[in-house]
């Protein structure tokens, strides 16, 4: 207890300044969050219970009816939600399976030129999302690249092209997977790139085969990147609506499409808001449950 009064007060003063600084630094993001996230979400919530109405002629009765309809009984939207979850899970799994070897190759096999190659993989991101989706229409259409090739080789009659290539659930998943692969290769690459290479040398010194090294050392150490990659795809694709709109046909319709239709075509903002909030809630729960795998600082280079 040999602290003089002067020292103590100086420390208090320093602490006070520090606290004030923290508050000041936090104010910006806090206000941003409020204005552009919390308040809009509160408005959506108000629409979902009928506290705010789209039309002045609406009854303006606050009720949980639309929530009740969604959560109880065989709501058509709940069925769609599970369909979207299944599609997103499939897409995420495929994308991770495709992206892992890519990331592995870039991080451990290429050597000096890895960043150039990484840039090449990311390059498609520089073009418009819509363009990339529409390009698939050219490739997969009845008179598209693949069908023309098949009929040229004589494997398929030109009068009987393969029609499920375009406007189907398959197309939606194919296009989504294509769009997300480069984005997912990045976290995998980063987690493998910062892997301590001496561990791999140690494994081989101790007589482990390459396969055993991968299973026992490389894969476990890169799992956080894999999980992050999986969530990077899974979360945005549940609410996806543009791709199904463009190439989904009648069977590719997803949960996000029904939200968009309710807002822009059905003019039922109450149900639309309920669906949107439900999706937000599910994503929030997923983030909370798996957030520790999303170590953003560790993943984003």
């Amino acid at each position: 207890m040999a602290v003089t009064q002067q020292e103590a007060s100086a420390r208090r003063g320093w602490r006070r300044r520090d606290r004030r600084g923290t508050a000041g630094l936090l104010a910006g993001p806090l206000i941003w969050l409020l204005l552009f996230f919390v308040i809009p979400v509160a408005f959506v919530a108000a629409y979902s219970v009928g506290a705010v109405d789209l039309f002045p002629t609406d009854p303006g009765v606050v009720s949980l009816a639309s929530w009740q309809r969604l959560l109880t009984g065989g709501s058509v939207y709940m069925g769609l939600f599970w369909k979207s979850i299944r599609m997103s899970l499939t897409v995420s799994a495929i994308v991770v399976l495709l992206a892992y070897p890519t990331g592995y190759f870039l991080a451990l096999c290429v050597g000096r030129r890895k960043y150039v190659l990484l840039l090449l993989i990311i390059a498609p991101f520089l073009t418009s999302y819509l363009l990339r989706v529409l390009a698939w229409k050219v490739i997969l259409g009845d008179a598209g690249v693949i069908n023309s090739f098949l009929s040229w080789t004589g494997m398929q009659s030109p009068d009987d092209p393969i029609t499920w290539f375009l406007y189907s659930r398959f197309t939606v998943m194919l296009v989504l997977a294509y769009i997300w692969v480069p984005f997912v290769a990045l976290p995998v690459f980063v987690s493998l790139d910062k892997l301590d290479k001496s561990l791999l040398e140690a494994a081989s010194d101790l007589g482990a085969s390459r396969w055993r090294t991968f299973v026992r050392v490389t894969l476990p150490l890169s799992l956080s990147g894999v999980f992050a990659a999986f969530l990077f795809v899974f979360i945005p694709t549940i609410g996806e609506f543009v791709t199904p709109l463009l190439v989904g046909g009648t069977s590719g319709y997803m949960y996000g499409n029904s939200i968009q239709d309710l807002f822009t075509k059905g003019l039922d903002w109450q149900t639309g808001s309920t669906l949107a909030l439900f999706l937000l809630g599910v994503v929030a729960v997923l983030m909370a449950a798996f957030g520790r795998f999303l170590r953003v600082r560790a993943v984003v280079a």
């Binding site: 969050l33 409020l34 996230f37 509160a42 506290a51 319709y253 075509k265 039922d268």
Partner: protein
């Protein structure tokens, strides 16, 4: 909206004090999130409550403009704000011609260049205006005119300021009149009917049923809106497909679900439908007149059906916003749109009809003219055509239509 912000702002200040006090403790990430939550909840609830209060008082705005108080055109700000479909003057489809024919006269008379805001369908346009968007002139379609007028955001045109008004078909002007005043000036019109490729489809039986015909499995296109419910309603012989009961809606839904497997895709843009029709990806589809024109120009063997259930007709027109500062500019613009030149442009380039009776239908190729019935003065009358009508139970229709799409 302004009223909604004031209480929120007050609360922010109150909260800020509280937040600062709380920060005298160590602030961890968890705490930060909690405080952000507290602050957000209270501020946003204040905002929501204020918004509810706003919703209670109907948005005012009345018509009844006093002509004497309207300033001369020189005193108006110009920069006319036009809320319209893409391709109706903004230059999306025919950059030079749209300007020249649809508002060239306007530009000459006023020296002004209009600014365009676009909507993609009637419903989103209406929603946007309900949500508070305001322009000088809007171009919605007939079945929603009543809703726009009811909103109290429109005012009647002074038709004496539109010199071309006398050339417009008086019979068709009725759709835009409310309380004896011309709130909308109907101009462009067209149809909804099945378009089929006669190389593959039997055209002897003209019916909407071709869109639900098992023989053309995988070669049919539907539109991506709940209008399909109405078309199915006509096909099933339901008395008023624009206002169906729950039982009728359930019948229509079950019918559409059972036929959905025949459909290749739902179209959102008529051009997408045209591309698929041209390539032979589909042989039959829900179609607007523009696709008929393209098919004719491409020399296809097509039929734009006059279904036994009757075509569905639509007519769109210009409306004037109540709080416009460009009153006289807006009338010049409507005058430009009502002209013979504008009418012939719409006929020749989009294959749409126009209410201007002086327009010469021979600007349209013979085949298209016959297909659309542009020479037939009764083509828009019952029972040949049913006017597109307001659907009072729209959100219920949407639920049933969602069930079709999700099935």
């Amino acid at each position: 909206m302004i009223r909604a912000i004031i209480p929120a702002r007050t609360t922010t200040r109150g909260e800020a004090v509280m937040v600062e006090k709380r920060f005298t403790r160590e602030v961890g990430r968890r705490d930060f999130l909690r405080y952000a939550g507290y602050a957000g909840m209270s501020v946003s609830m204040a905002g929501v409550l204020a918004a509810c209060r706003d919703a209670d008082t109907p948005s005012g705005g009345s018509s009844g403009s006093v002509k004497a108080s309207i300033p001369p055109i020189e005193q108006e700000p110009g920069g006319l704000q036009v809320f319209d479909w893409s391709g109706y003057g903004n230059g999306d489809y025919y950059p030079k011609e749209e300007k020249k024919f649809l508002w060239g006269q306007y530009a000459k008379a006023t020296g002004d260049t209009p600014e365009f805001a676009l909507f993609e369908n009637d419903d989103s346009a209406y929603t946007k205006v309900v949500a508070g968007a305001r322009y000088d002139v809007a171009h919605p379609c007939g079945y929603r005119y009543g809703d726009w007028v009811d909103l109290g955001v429109m005012q009647p045109w002074d038709t004496s300021l539109i010199s071309n008004f006398s050339s417009l078909n008086p019979k068709l002007m009725a759709a835009g009149q409310f309380d004896g005043q011309q709130y909308f000036v109907p101009m462009d019109w067209g149809f909804i009917a099945p378009l089929v490729n006669l190389d593959h489809v039997d055209g002897s039986d003209e019916t909407f049923g071709v869109l639900f015909d098992e023989r053309y499995k995988g070669k049919i296109a539907w539109i991506d809106t709940l209008n399909m419910m109405v078309v199915a309603g006509y096909t099933l012989g339901i008395e008023n497909p624009w206002d169906m009961s729950d039982e009728e809606l359930a019948e229509v839904r079950d019918f559409l679900v059972s036929k959905k497997g025949l459909v290749r895709f739902y179209w959102n843009q008529s051009y997408d439908f045209w591309l698929a029709f041209k390539k032979g990806e589909v042989w039959a589809g829900y179609s607007w007149p523009d696709t008929v024109g393209y098919a004719d120009a491409a020399g296809m063997n097509y039929l734009y059906m006059q279904p036994k259930e009757g075509r569905i007709s639509w007519v769109c027109g210009l409306g004037l916003f109540a709080d416009t500062e460009n009153y006289r500019h807006a009338h010049e613009y409507a005058n430009s749109w009502a002209s013979k030149e504008a009418a012939e442009f719409l006929l020749a380039y989009y294959y749409y009809g126009h209410t201007n009776t002086e327009a010469d239908p021979s600007v349209v190729p013979d085949g298209v003219r016959t297909a659309l019935g542009l020479d037939d003065p009764t083509v828009l009358d019952e029972p040949k055509a049913h006017p597109e009508t307001h659907i009072p139970r729209r959100s219920i229709y949407q639920q049933y239509w969602s069930e079709v799409q999700a099935a």
